[in-house]
């Protein structure tokens, strides 16, 4: 069963002559362990798709199911709990709290969910260790490089029992080496059973995904077929 399922999602803003369709009849399902990329130009509806999948915004029509449960049937509190416990977000500009250390940024969502501070920090430290940045745990965001900040943001997105990772241009502000490191971490999280959706305009980023969907003017217009083995690219035939 898909961990995230979007069924015939449409989203409109405004009314009458100012009506704008941000998404039109978008359906998408993502299993655990799978990384899906949604590729499209600015204004194609990518970020709207992500905020609806993450229950930060309601669709105009259609249904979102997470782990088989429809968001429409959930109370405001249930959705808030789902966001704290199950969904991790990664944004282009990191969105770390500047007054908290790296460790505190990662442990905060667990502490907000009533976990003891000690347990939350142990789990947060484990998350920082898993992405190789434990030695920076006591530093504040402005003492970290862009690449380090994004790693902290990924640790925060996967800490605890999160099973859904939603990322909006997660390496957009980083150089290519750091961007690649970020995508490897997201793939690493998928190998641990996380379902992930990355929205991007960048083919380099999208190419890390198992499946790439192309969004245009609010509609999914195309998608890649699962790639054959990469071995097919190498040394096809030898004539001797």
């Amino acid at each position: 069963m898909s961990f995230l399922e979007l069924r015939n999602i449409s989203k409109s803003y405004g009314a009458g002559s100012t009506l704008v369709h941000a998404l039109l009849d978008v359906s998408l399902s993502v299993d655990r362990g799978i990384l899906v990329a949604v590729m499209g130009p600015s204004g194609s509806g990518k970020s709207t798709l992500l905020t609806i999948a993450g229950s930060l915004e309601e669709p105009t029509t259609g249904e979102v199911l997470i782990d088989g449960k429809s968001l429409a049937s959930m109370s405001h509190n249930d959705k808030a709990r789902l966001r704290r416990r199950t969904i991790g977000y990664v944004f282009q500009d990191f969105n770390l709290l500047s007054g908290l250390t790296a460790l505190e940024n990662v442990s905060l969502p667990l502490e907000l969910d009533d976990m003891s501070a000690r347990k939350a920090r142990t789990l947060a430290m484990a998350a920082l260790e898993s992405i190789g940045i434990a030695e920076r745990a006591g530093h504040f965001p402005d003492e970290l490089s862009g690449g380090e900040r994004q790693r902290v943001a990924i640790a925060r997105a996967v800490v605890g029992e999160r099973h859904l990772l939603l990322a909006d241009e997660p390496s957009g502000a980083l150089d290519s080496a750091n961007g690649e490191a970020v995508m490897k971490m997201i793939r690493g999280a998928c190998k641990q059973g996380v379902a992930a959706v990355v929205v991007t305009h960048d083919a380099h980023l999208a190419s890390w995904a198992d499946r790439v969907l192309f969004l245009k003017d609010g509609r999914i217009v195309d998608q890649t077929v699962p790639p054959p083995s990469a071995e097919s690219l190498l040394a096809p035939t030898r004539t001797s």
């Binding site: 490897k184 790439v212 077929v225 035939t237």
Partner: protein, 191 residues
């Protein structure tokens, strides 16, 4: 691709056998560009003929023949490395011609042609990128080849994105005079 110069580069490390050159060339390019034996020996013969390499005269032609770089070969190798690869003239790119042709053919949607290629290129990029997943057996030469391929494919996708944007803007704007003569003049002037 200059097999000739790549062989000179391998010989700059010291004398080598023909079979060894073939093996090192393939390993050095991550096995992405296989060479057949005939291609290696005919290139070596040409290099010997032009005085860029020399071989042990006493040995017969074959795998046991040792080749070494001459002073002339060394300067040719340095000249090649320090000369920019010719990229001055726009290549006659089939994809560009296809998109330009699609604009003229009735019943063909140029945006569909663009998306068909975009998807194909992303699929190719996925295959290359997934090779990076297991970096344990990823040697440096192969990593450089993979990066080069990914950058090349990405640049084509960027062009498709630009082309789509430009075509959409052109649909909204009134038709102006063609810029073709001016472009042609500029390209000619640069040569």
């Amino acid at each position: 691709m200059s097999v000739r110069h790549a062989l000179l580069a391998l010989l700059s490390e010291g004398p080598k056998y023909g079979f060894q050159l073939r093996q090192e060339f393939e390993e050095g390019t991550g096995d992405v560009w296989p060479l057949n034996v005939g291609q290696v020996y005919s290139t070596l013969q040409r290099l010997e003929h032009s005085g860029h390499i020399e071989s042990d005269d006493t040995a017969d032609d074959g795998p046991q023949k040792v080749f070494r770089l001459t002073e002339e070969g060394k300067s040719e190798l340095h000249r090649w490395l320090s000369t920019p690869t010719d990229m001055a003239s726009p290549p006659r790119d089939e994809l560009v011609i296809k998109v330009l042709s699609a604009l003229r053919v009735p019943g063909i949607d140029v945006y569909e042609v663009i998306q068909l290629h975009r998807r194909y290129l992303v699929e190719l990029m996925q295959q290359w990128t997934h090779l990076k997943d297991d970096e344990a057996d990823f040697d440096l030469a192969f990593a450089l080849v993979v990066d080069a391929e990914l950058s090349r494919l990405d640049s084509v996708i960027r062009w498709l994105d630009q082309a789509e944007g430009r075509l959409k803007r052109a649909e909204l704007e009134p038709t102006g005079p063609s810029t073709a003569p001016r472009l042609r003049r500029r390209l000619v002037a640069r040569r």
